[in-house]
């Protein structure tokens, strides 16, 4: 294997960031330029949103459930077991719902986008599309970005809800707590800032997942091996970006929303 010099490596990375920035800017600008591919947006929304439902529901439910199981022990020690609804609710809505849904959708859809677009690149279908007078950025990238942002928002809401339901099941069946008390605690502990934070994150994560997936797909080189590499890189990059962005967004929103 040929070794790359550190300078060359740094140049490649800077160039990649530049290309990614240009692509994301184009994908946003294309939302305001005709033609808008509504049919493709609906199709992608179905693939990304409806297709991801099972994993999002399962992940959300069991995360809420395990959160209740784990925290029950500690809360019991302090005689605060009734606060379990509050704990599950805040953790799911503010943090775990958006992040875990983002990671699940990244694993499923960033890889799907990278492999699909990468295959199209290496088989010259992207060139064919341009040759036939269609802008691949409008036809392929923009619908994926819009659909992922839109659907991840609702998938996160659903994940939060089933996560609370998971906590409820554990509280009722394993801890013999009153379901109404759990639900009322969970519901009343949420304030505007929590919900706002929990709903801003999926919008940003959806944008990251789709643009990273499309970027690695559109820049795939080197045949089927290149497509495989692009797929792996897309999932890794999207997942890492989600958790890193999560920290900064959380800190930023806490400052902006004057959390106490």
């Amino acid at each position: 294997m040929e070794l790359t010099s550190p300078t060359e490596f740094a140049k490649q990375k800077v160039l990649a960031v530049q290309d990614y920035t240009v692509m994301t800017a184009q994908s946003v600008a294309n939302l305001f330029r005709k033609p808008l591919y509504f049919a493709d947006m609906i199709q992608q929304a179905d693939l990304i949103g409806v297709g991801s439902l099972p994993i999002v529901v399962l992940t959300g439910f069991f995360t809420g459930a395990v959160l209740a199981v784990q925290s029950a022990n500690t809360l019991q020690r302090f005689g605060s077991i009734t606060l379990i609804g509050q704990l599950v609710s805040l953790s799911m809505v503010r943090e775990l719902g958006p992040v875990l849904t983002g990671l699940m959708v990244a694993g499923r859809n960033a890889s799907g986008m990278a492999s699909e677009l990468g295959s199209m690149v290496v088989t010259e279908q992207i060139d064919a599309m341009r040759a036939l007078g269609t802008d691949p950025m409008k036809k392929l990238v923009a619908p994926r970005v819009v659909s992922t942002v839109f659907m991840l928002f609702f998938l996160t809401v659903l994940s939060d809800f089933v996560g609370l339901a998971g906590g409820l099941v554990v509280s009722k069946i394993l801890l013999n707590l009153d379901a109404r008390q759990y639900w009322s605690n969970a519901w009343q502990s949420l304030v505007f800032q929590d919900v706002f934070m929990g709903l801003v994150k999926p919008v940003m994560f959806g944008f990251i997942i789709s643009t990273v997936g499309c970027f690695y797909g559109m820049t795939a080189r080197g045949g089927t091996q290149g497509v495989g590499r692009a797929t792996t890189q897309a999932v890794v990059a999207a997942s890492v970006l989600i958790v890193v962005t999560d920290l900064f967004v959380t800190q930023f929103l806490m400052n902006v929303l004057s959390y106490k």
Binding site: P35, T123, E124, Q125, D127, A128, M129, R130, A131, L132, G133, T134, D135
Partner: protein
């Protein structure tokens, strides 16, 4: 083999917008990182002519087609397609020009998630937004032209290599472009299928007067194009007498080390004294 006639409307190939040539390359240079692929390529493709591009693998033949379509930009030089300088034109504006240029890619490049119908109609559906009865009619006409009407509902993965190549030709000609670029249309195909495809290209040249660049490794295909003519009466290609070879609008261009080493007709090619070319065509 005989192929059905493709009905063309009166607008077909009418007028050249004052351009002197269908395609003109002026001192084009291109390098991919350290690899200098093209070193000052210059040639012209007159209207109605087919020019066969030869050269060893990696000599830049397919790159020339992509340059002509503006899919990649040269490092220097000018490329005029139907009088438009594609090197200076923005990508958004190139889409209009590309409507007048068809291309058949080396591996067909059909959209594998679309059926043959949608592949062939792709450009028309993009223009109109929806599939109309008129689009359906035109799709069937071009598929009849390439004798593949029965495959209209199939997906590319269900077709043989030769069939895919013919569907790609149908997709390229459905809008009756003024120029068609063929990238190894017979590569990897059996002689009978290759012959069918060459006949389609010849028909496009002789009946519809379409200008084209033909990248090929198969000398016999280019020589067949130079020594035969499509006869619309019998709907078949026929061999020309030796003295009439130059009546056919067909020329040859040979590349070596990123430069043009030959650009001329079949007679000039046959009488060349260049050792490399003689060895190449022998």
């Amino acid at each position: 083999m005989s192929a059905p006639t493709l009905p063309l409307d009166s607008a077909s190939n009418a007028g050249h917008d004052g351009a002197a040539y269908a395609i003109e390359f002026q001192d084009v240079h291109l390098a991919f990182e350290e690899n200098q692929v093209l070193r000052g390529i210059s040639f012209c493709l007159p209207f109605g002519e087919t020019k066969a591009l030869f050269g060893v693998a990696g000599s830049g033949k397919s790159t020339i087609l992509k340059l002509a379509l503006g899919l990649i930009k040269p490092d220097s030089g000018r490329i005029l397609v139907l009088g438009n300088d594609v090197t200076q034109t923005r990508e958004e504006d190139l889409f209009t020009l590309r409507a007048k240029v068809g291309i058949v890619f080396q591996e067909s490049a059909l959209f594998d998630s679309l059926a043959v119908r949608e592949n062939v109609a792709y450009r028309l559906i993009e223009e109109h937004g929806v599939e109309t009865p008129d689009i359906e009619r035109r799709v069937r006409e071009v598929l009849q032209f390439v004798e593949l009407e029965q495959t209209i509902d199939k997906f590319p993965s269900e077709l043989s290599g030769g069939m895919r190549r013919r569907v790609a030709i149908a997709r390229a000609i459905i809008t009756q472009p003024e120029v068609i670029l063929y990238d190894s249309p017979t590569g990897g195909l059996d002689p009978i299928t290759s012959n069918t495809i060459i006949e389609l290209i010849m028909k496009q040249r002789d009946v519809y007067k379409t200008s084209s660049l033909l990248v090929t490794h198969r000398l016999q295909d280019a020589f067949a194009m130079a020594t035969h003519q499509f006869d619309p009466q019998t709907n078949q290609m026929r061999s020309l007498p030796r003295g009439q070879y130059c009546d056919v609008p067909m020329s040859f261009l040979i590349l070596r080390d990123g430069k043009v080493i030959f650009d001329g007709d079949v007679r000039q090619l046959a009488h060349t004294t260049d050792e490399y070319i003689r060895e190449y065509i022998s």
